[in-house]
Structures are given as structure tokens and as C-alpha cells.
């Protein structure tokens, strides 16, 4: 078991804070891919998509994943920044043992796509000719408590 927790990829967030990522998180072009539990995330050093290993494969799933849309940052509840988007889904898919989703800025190539965050499913999920859906939590995908 190499995926033990969700997390933010620090190097990309550092770039956003110092204005060198050149991306808006509210763009509608970012993507989400899925990996098996064999991928060993390193949130301190993994920065581009070419650091990702063990992406899932299968019918109805293309390498690199799909765009996630209707992205929004809001200040809600009070004192908290919340990042959210529509539930990503792969219809008519056969995908085995997906353990986590990895989001990234879709710049264009694996060497330039900047990693954003990993969402740990905790329990691996598999579809078999049906729809694989990531149900984003009611409280959003990412929350940042700025008055801890």
C-alpha cells in the first residue's frame, strides 16, 4: 500500500504563490487521471505528470484522464477557502483497481503538466462496462482553513 493519504503537490502550489505557475485554478481545461495503489506519491518532489506512475488503463479510459469542469473557489464556510468542481465520470468503462485521482494543469505534455493534488479513495474501485464516478465530497475537493 503506497497511497496512504490525500495531499497537495507542494512544488506546484509554491509556483502559484510566487506567480510562476501561469495557471488559474478556475480554468476549465485542467484534468484528472487515476492511479492504482502501486503509485508512490511524493508531495514534496513530484511536480509534473511525468512523475506519475501506474496510471490505470482500460476500456473507456484514455491515458491522461479527463477534464474536470465548473471549477470554483469560494470563501465558504467563513474562514475557509473551498475548491470544487463537478463529479468526474468515465461512462461505459472497464477500469480496475483505481485507488486515487490526481489532478493537474493540462499544459500540454507529461513533462509540463503541473500536478495539483491527489485524492485518496482509501478503497480501490473498479468498473466493468459501467460508469466510474468520482463523487466529490459535500464540503468540496480541497478546503484551506485560513483562520485556523
Amino acid at each position: 500500500m503506497t497511497i496512504t493519504a490525500s495531499g497537495l503537490y507542494g512544488l506546484t502550489w509554491e509556483k502559484m504563490f510566487i506567480d510562476t505557475a501561469a495557471q488559474s485554478m478556475e480554468a476549465e481545461t485542467h484534468k484528472v487521471l487515476m492511479v492504482t495503489d502501486t503509485y508512490a506519491p511524493n508531495f514534496d518532489t513530484h511536480d509534473f505528470r511525468d512523475d506519475i506512475t501506474n496510471e490505470v488503463t482500460g476500456t473507456g479510459y484514455s491515458a491522461g484522464g479527463i477534464a474536470f469542469t465548473t471549477t470554483d473557489w469560494t470563501i465558504t464556510p467563513a474562514g475557509t477557502l473551498t475548491y470544487d468542481f463537478a463529479d468526474p465520470a468515465w461512462p461505459t468503462s472497464t477500469i480496475a483497481n483505481a485507488m486515487a485521482a490526481v489532478t493537474y494543469f493540462n499544459v500540454g505534455t507529461a513533462a509540463t503538466d503541473q500536478l495539483l493534488f491527489l485524492m485518496d479513495f482509501v478503497t480501490a474501485a473498479s468498473s466493468s462496462g459501467g460508469t466510474f464516478t468520482i463523487l466529490i465530497a459535500a464540503t468540496g475537493a480541497v478546503t484551506l482553513d485560513f483562520t485556523p
Binding site: 476549465e28 470554483d72 473557489w73 465558504t76 466493468s128 468540496g140 482553513d145
Partner: protein
């Protein structure tokens, strides 16, 4: 009103606001804070109902339900 009706109504409201957000993002003004807040609240309402009463899965369907990533941004005192 049944739970399923509440959930469906909340889903429709969410989808409508998502469409409004898509349209607004393509304008010069962009999406307003009010619209983004309304969508966030609609998503919260729908997903809370969905999690309390999950839809039955079809043959071969799968769902993953990751928890929100909770981060804290502190200021050194």
C-alpha cells in the same frame, strides 16, 4: 416531499447553476462571487442528500468517494 424528490430537486438546481457558471466564465466579466457561492451551496445540499441516500449502482458501475482535502494556512505568531 420524499427524500428522492428533495435530492432530484437539489441536483437540478446544481446542474442549472453549473451551466450558468460555464456561460459566465465565457464572458468578459467572468463568474461573479454570488454565482460561485450559490453553486457551492447547491453542491453541498445535493451531495449531502446523495451521501445520505446513495443512488443504486447500475451493472458494472463504480464510485469512489474521496474525502475533502483539509488544509490549514497558519500565520506564525
Amino acid at each position: 416531499m420524499s427524500d428522492e424528490t428533495d435530492k432530484l430537486r437539489a441536483q437540478l438546481e446544481m446542474v442549472e447553476l453549473e451551466e450558468q457558471l460555464r456561460v459566465a466564465k465565457n464572458t468578459d466579466e467572468g463568474a461573479s462571487d454570488d454565482l460561485r457561492l450559490a453553486l457551492r451551496e447547491a453542491r453541498y445540499r445535493y451531495r449531502t442528500l446523495r451521501d445520505a441516500s446513495p443512488d443504486a449502482l447500475g451493472p458494472g458501475d463504480a464510485v469512489a468517494n474521496p474525502a475533502a482535502i483539509d488544509g490549514s494556512v497558519g500565520v506564525q505568531q
